[in-house]
Amino acid sequence: MRRLYGRLMAGAALSALLLAGAAQADTRLKFISWQTDDGGTGEWWQSAIDAFEASHPGVTIEFTKADRSTYADTMTTLFAAGDPPQIVHLASFEFQMFGDSGWLEPLDPWIEKSGIDMTGWAGQKTCQMNGETVCIMMNYFGYIMAYNRKILTEAGLEPPTDWDSYLAVARATTKDLNGDGIMDQFGTGHETRGGAGQYLTEMLNYILDAGAYWTDAEGNVTIDTPEMIEGLTRWKTVIDEKLTPIDMAASEVRKLFADGKMALKLDGPWLYGTTERGIAKDDIVYAAPPFHPPVGGSSNVLAMPADIPEDEKALVWDFITLTMSPEFQRTYATLGGNTPPSPTADVSGVEETIPHFPLLQQTMTEAAEAGVDRIPTGLDLYYNEFSKMIMEETQRMLIQGLAPAEVVKTMQAKAEDLQG
């Protein structure tokens, strides 16, 4: 009897041990992203996951792709169903609704506990909501200009350095090459078909250079200004004169440029990946944008849900800090081809693989110093409605031939209505 009892006890102890081991081995963190197969960036995420799993035996990260076009829908549904991923990856213009609903964990105590100095972390102020840090900015970028040297040389033109020379180059290089009545080559290129957010970003090139912006630092709407009229007039000129192909998605416009059917392209760091695969790869030159300040902005953030268990929060925070480490901030540039937000990131030698990397850093710094962001202060919670309203009023201006001076008044009134 005693032997049986002893065996039962030993069996129970072994079972408990095995179960505990299995429970640890089963710790799985869900991480949904739209960047899983982005050239460079996807590999960088995977390297961070590998490093995390190596340093946390028994913990795995389930890295799953969700399409960018339906990403916000997917995340909203997961949060609404009470089943969000533990590692929350969001675009910097969409985390606000999750933060406003109280679904994101305030990160200030975690930052303080880890002793991380966030001073100078590019774009981090965007992650502040109601006085709390709800996310960590993973990418802040500045726009650069790329031009097709062959097209400019053939037209006897120099790369533009301001709005006037930009317009002159765009006009001179927009051509119907075979005389069939259809334009084959464009002076510049903007996405005008995608979402409203991207539409606004494209317009912002001209608006910022004209000295205008949607709101001021206090969040007051500042649309009805002479500068904004000038900015809208420039956008109207580019579209009305068909200096850009219209109704095209961003990837299609980039492809046109990469294949040598466009003279100038203002874009973010991601343009390089497309131009490297394009037919006109050898003709493409990267330069400083002719507009000041350059368009810049926060791109994507990492966060964690407020209502997951504490032990999972600790693991997620470990993963976030790993991506913020000097080692991974460096590989964000070397492997991902992105400008790391950390002010102390060692990016020496990156120009060997990405020749224009110093330019990317320069425009990022310039945009950050000018406080440029795509999401206007005071309208961040209504960004989708705001961007759609601006896009529609701009389309109305183009379709109905309205004067920009008239349009800015409508935009101003509607933006103020949104703020309530």
Binding site: T76, F79, D180, I399
Partner: protein, 308 residues
């Protein structure tokens, strides 16, 4: 004494008795009915409940917000809603009529005996078999404002002197959506009408010919009346499809420009997923459902009177 209640109980549960066979029927279909109710009615009840709350993003398991009619008040005062109703109505009328005309014409054609009829029938049904999203992507390329096939053909034929801005002109965008919908929707009408045509006895046509009826008269007085039951159901289904279709508009125009292609389905999506106003989105959805039910009842009632 003790045997009597037992006998009574046995009689009550004797479902084999002819007078109680209907109870057995109800019991047998009950699981299916409950399942259908859960699948259809429960989400509907949730949507109705959501439409009566001021809620941005709902979360399962959280407390219900107070009852309010705010979402419906906003909806009926919103010009956006009435514009979406008008766009939906225009699209339903244009697409349904075009589908009927093209579908009936093709069905009449492939009902004739000619060489390659089988191939023609296959070709007629092809757009229906192509997945909607693939069809829309192809049409999006053909309607491209800078390099699209339709614009190129228009320039080459001298119809236009420049590429047509299909997606950035309100009128052109509406027609781009309508044409895509007709292309995708007419084969269903064709298939249904073809089935209807083959069920009409050839004797009727022979008798009419003997009486001296011409082709048009035979079509007017034999084909159309006998097809009415099929046409009624087909038109109800086509109308409902146009009403609820989302992917064609979403991929082609996203409801723009200037909301010129924003139907009630697109408005529901935008309110929910773009603006995170789930209460308002649910209100649009419920109103759409009511409109669909009314339209179906009216059309089916009309069909019943049309049969002789």
């Amino acid at each position: 004494m003790t045997h009597i209640p037992t006998r009574r109980r046995r009689r009550i549960f004797d479902l084999a008795r002819p007078s109680r066979q209907h109870i057995l029927g109800y019991i047998l279909i009950a699981p299916a009915v409950i399942m259908v109710a859960l699948i259809i009615l429960w989400p509907l009840m949730l949507a109705l409940d959501l439409s009566l709350q001021r809620v941005k993003i709902p979360r399962l398991g959280t407390a219900r917000k107070p009852f309010t009619l705010d979402n419906y008040e906003w909806l009926f005062q919103s010009t956006e809603f009435w514009m979406a109703c008008w766009i939906t109505l225009k699209l339903v009328i244009v697409v349904s009529i075009c589908c009927l005309v093209v579908g009936m014409a093709t069905a009449l054609l492939v009902n004739q005996r000619f060489r390659g009829r089988r191939l023609a029938r296959l070709g007629m049904a092809l757009p229906w078999a192509v997945p909607e999203i693939i069809a829309v992507v192809i049409f999006a390329w053909m309607f491209d404002s800078s390099f699209g096939l339709f614009g190129w053909v228009a320039v080459k034929l001298g119809i236009a002197d420049h590429m047509i801005p299909w997606v950035s002109s309100p009128a052109a965008a509406f027609w781009a959506v309508a044409i895509t919908m007709v292309w995708k929707g007419f084969p269903f009408v064709s298939i249904m009408v073809l089935a209807g045509l083959q069920s009409i006895p050839s004797d009727y046509y022979a008798a009419a010919k003997v009486d001296g009826a011409g082709a048009l008269q035979r079509f007017r007085w034999i084909t159309v009346p006998l097809l009415m039951p099929v046409l009624g159901v087909t038109m109800v289904l086509t109308t409902l499809w146009v009403f609820r279709d989302f992917s064609i508009i979403k991929v082609l125009t996203q409801g723009g420009p200037l909301r010129s292609t924003q139907t009630l389905s697109i408005m529901t999506y935008d309110q929910a997923f773009q603006y995170q106003n789930y209460g308002r989105a649910a209100a649009v959805g419920i109103v759409t459902l009511v409109i669909c039910i009314i339209a179906s009842v009216l059309m089916l009632g009309r069909r019943a009177k049309s049969i002789y």
